[in-house]
Symmetry: D2
Amino acid sequence: MAVHRFVPTQFHNVLGTREPVLRVSDGDTVVTFTLDAGGCDQANVERAPKPNPMTGPFFVEGAEPGDALIVQIQRMTPTRGTGWTYSSLAPNVVEPEILPQLRERDRVDWTIDPHAGTVRLVDPPIAIADLVLPLRPMIGCFGVAPGMDQAISTTTSGRHGGNMDFRGFEPGAIACFPVFEPGALFFLGDGHACQGDGEIVGTGIETSFEIEFTVRLKKNAKHGWPRGENASEIFTIGNARPLDQALQHATTEMLRWLGDSFGLDTVSASHLLGQTVSYDIGNVFNPAYTVVCRIAKTWLRKPQTSLGWLG
Amino acid sequence: MAVHRFVPTQFHNVLGTREPVLRVSDGDTVVTFTLDAGGCDQANVERAPKPNPMTGPFFVEGAEPGDALIVQIQRMTPTRGTGWTYSSLAPNVVEPEILPQLRERDRVDWTIDPHAGTVRLVDPPIAIADLVLPLRPMIGCFGVAPGMDQAISTTTSGRHGGNMDFRGFEPGAIACFPVFEPGALFFLGDGHACQGDGEIVGTGIETSFEIEFTVRLKKNAKHGWPRGENASEIFTIGNARPLDQALQHATTEMLRWLGDSFGLDTVSASHLLGQTVSYDIGNVFNPAYTVVCRIAKTWLRKPQTSLGWLG
Amino acid sequence: MAVHRFVPTQFHNVLGTREPVLRVSDGDTVVTFTLDAGGCDQANVERAPKPNPMTGPFFVEGAEPGDALIVQIQRMTPTRGTGWTYSSLAPNVVEPEILPQLRERDRVDWTIDPHAGTVRLVDPPIAIADLVLPLRPMIGCFGVAPGMDQAISTTTSGRHGGNMDFRGFEPGAIACFPVFEPGALFFLGDGHACQGDGEIVGTGIETSFEIEFTVRLKKNAKHGWPRGENASEIFTIGNARPLDQALQHATTEMLRWLGDSFGLDTVSASHLLGQTVSYDIGNVFNPAYTVVCRIAKTWLRKPQTSLGWLG
Amino acid sequence: MAVHRFVPTQFHNVLGTREPVLRVSDGDTVVTFTLDAGGCDQANVERAPKPNPMTGPFFVEGAEPGDALIVQIQRMTPTRGTGWTYSSLAPNVVEPEILPQLRERDRVDWTIDPHAGTVRLVDPPIAIADLVLPLRPMIGCFGVAPGMDQAISTTTSGRHGGNMDFRGFEPGAIACFPVFEPGALFFLGDGHACQGDGEIVGTGIETSFEIEFTVRLKKNAKHGWPRGENASEIFTIGNARPLDQALQHATTEMLRWLGDSFGLDTVSASHLLGQTVSYDIGNVFNPAYTVVCRIAKTWLRKPQTSLGWLG
């Protein structure tokens, strides 16, 4: 249960089979740094090319294909006082007919105040001059090597995780990725100081972070898609286009989970999901969109394993 | 500001230009009954053919094409102690590959206990023998005549509303429909005692209701899609397939609203939406899917009109 | 086997349960006129509002729900020397990012020369000053009343046919629609002098026609979607969004047809379709998109019925 | 203009930055072998793991990012007398509701007779006992390294080509890929003896081939997506889900081509495309679907460059 402090010096724009930067064990905690989506560090110096340069990969001892890697996000601390977004909605989230009415998408800056717990535009349009939003850090892109010799761009996502931009991946939340390569090869980056559902301007408030996370292993997990947990819910994630297909993946993974860990046959699971499920939209901007399927823990009995809800 | 008590005797399986059953005025309240989705009334007697037979239409004096009809859902009281659902997930919400694993979709019964505020399966599978869910009434299908001489089935939805199955349409919420025909011609029905996001078993808990609602008019509204309001949020609705297109409609309508009622130019609206928007999925079962675009009122200044947030 | 000459005086912008304009019998031929998509007649005089005003409905004696109405397109003769199109691609057929590069969509005129069998722009841009295209008439929108009390706009399509804009619906081709209402109630209009796949500028070359067609009945057909036939192929049609779903409907209907009329079990049909199927795209402009699933007659044995391939 | 005879000994299941197996020059011809989709060679011996193991990559001297690699398919000769397919439609090409009616997807064998130019099932179901189809070889998967450090699975496709399963990629056709890496790094494999549109059973008739192809370079091409040419048409290709988006990419690339090589402004291109475009569906089975946008050469003036239509 070691705590590793790791200062990255190289970064990757893919999740793939790359040389590990650190070997950690089941239960270990890592404290490290991430660049912003554009490759800039705590001093706003460009340290790697965009898009979404990743810190890692971390090799988790004992992880084998078929296992699942559990990543608990312990803490996310912004390492600088500024972030940036784009100034206009992404073209794919509005009706094509109104696109000519939208402005060019410029990059604009935000101030991050960790003490006040707020973010605000540096130079806001007059109509939102007073807008002060809460600082709410989250991880935009993280996951594991996708296996089969692939190296998948950090612009997109899949069964291995990647650029999901789900704002539920915040401190306190737990993510769980299927393992496709020995050691899992965990990557992370693309932190946001704030973000709405869908990442519909094409960014959250992009900034650099110090992140602390703990890894655990679930052996022979046979998961198909990322899963997760927060204080009140368990959730599954599907990444695909259109959203309809992402939703199919997420719902199918939840059906599998309800069967494997909670003993619900498909009829029981259908009743529970039918009357209580919630869906969230992670992103509708990246090449693969992200849908999250959520069930409140209150409707389930916690598995009596060392991994708890994820057991 | 009259209160009308209306007992329906005929029902419609479309929203279209049909003979009004009652004429009401801006500000009036109506107390009426709705059949369940299968056409059964408070005595569980079939009174109309499925699907989703509607009560109405109500002619609202003064409503003209281009106006908007505001409908406040004041109360929904179940009129019988039972409801029903299907026993298996709809085929379109899971990966096609696993469909052969799902059981046939049978109709099963639920008990509704208004005093306890609960619903439970009459004959639950053993794995969910103890499942007791909250009674949470909502309207599955309501809206106005779609204009252009159309009569659109209550299985689907569009700009005129219809079968949206959004669980936010509950007592206390306000819906707002574009008006396409003189008098608006408002229909309602398909009440659910409970429902998860997406209506993914193809039903909520279908039952009959007594519903009380109040109508108001917004003249020259020029809305494109349904809008709504609850205690903490304003929202817009898009109905289409795939979900991606429903989301485009909802987002575009919100952009329009933020401009027209709150004075936000597209850049200001993009900043606000980008960092604070939430999306809900109404249904992913009907021919047209439903996406809801939500913004917390806390980020906006309430319009100083008699119609408040919807003004 | 009468031949009816019918001059329409009223038109419909929906396919629905409307008063029949003429009663015809199985085997009869009708010669009638259609307005262009904008409602103009042979003299370019506006006779009905857009969109796509329909001639009809024709009541076919003996047609009952569950039957199929077979419509052979015998002839299409343009009734005036001009047609029109829009001057720019529809916004939904290009990448959203390039939309700002497209020009406004203006209405432009074409000359139709039936003797030369050609169409050309009246005032072509210099880059296509010499472009002369073949006159190739087709029906954009036709079909039957959709049943269930619906009246569906001529902008869209469904199981009942409608605005499919498939350029295979040309003289010599046969269309076949499921019947949902007594008498079938057949409508037609929206003729095009020429059109590419997808109707991607939002129009074909829109003009008025004299059309001659023959109707036959297939009793107890139990078809799910439109079907058709030309000299070399049989085909089925799905109408939905996205194209993926339209393709599912068309393929499923072909699977049904191969089983019912040609005795192919699903494995045999899969082999045949897998190695020989062709797909066409009818339209990618209307609310519902259209996909056509085609099989060459050479791979099938013609049913020994009076209805031939459609038997 | 050398002719290289290359016998592969290693294979890749991704298109990525891998060690070149041969360096060739602009204008050179290569004669080589490809395994079938399951990794079997001319002796039906498994030589590499599935899916779609690729021969290559071939390094083309002088190819730089921003160029385009032109690949002329000169010849495809099956190297064994057997191929295989799956026995049932893929689950995603039919309505979800009918999936339970489809049989399990088994692998079945076909006989290939190059002299007769035919293929037939080894053990056909009785209903198609006499079915003899034409031998019509095509390349299922080919393309270049996708750049940005990615290695993309041969199950899918993108801007770099990949598993497009377009039956127009047959002997005589020319393909053209954007170059993302120095040397382009060209891969090929997954040959089919026959295939319908869409590859809707999940395979063509999978077999091993000897393939002869010639490479040429177009410098500073700035293409966005694959292009191609056959005797009568030029075409562009989009790879994405849903089909709607693949069609957007293909149409946009054609618009670019019509502007860059044929001098058509967007209005002129819209007129031409609107009235003459054809769309083909490459595959609707792989993670990314494929749409082909085609224009007959007869409507265009051949560019006076050494690369002809692709110039």
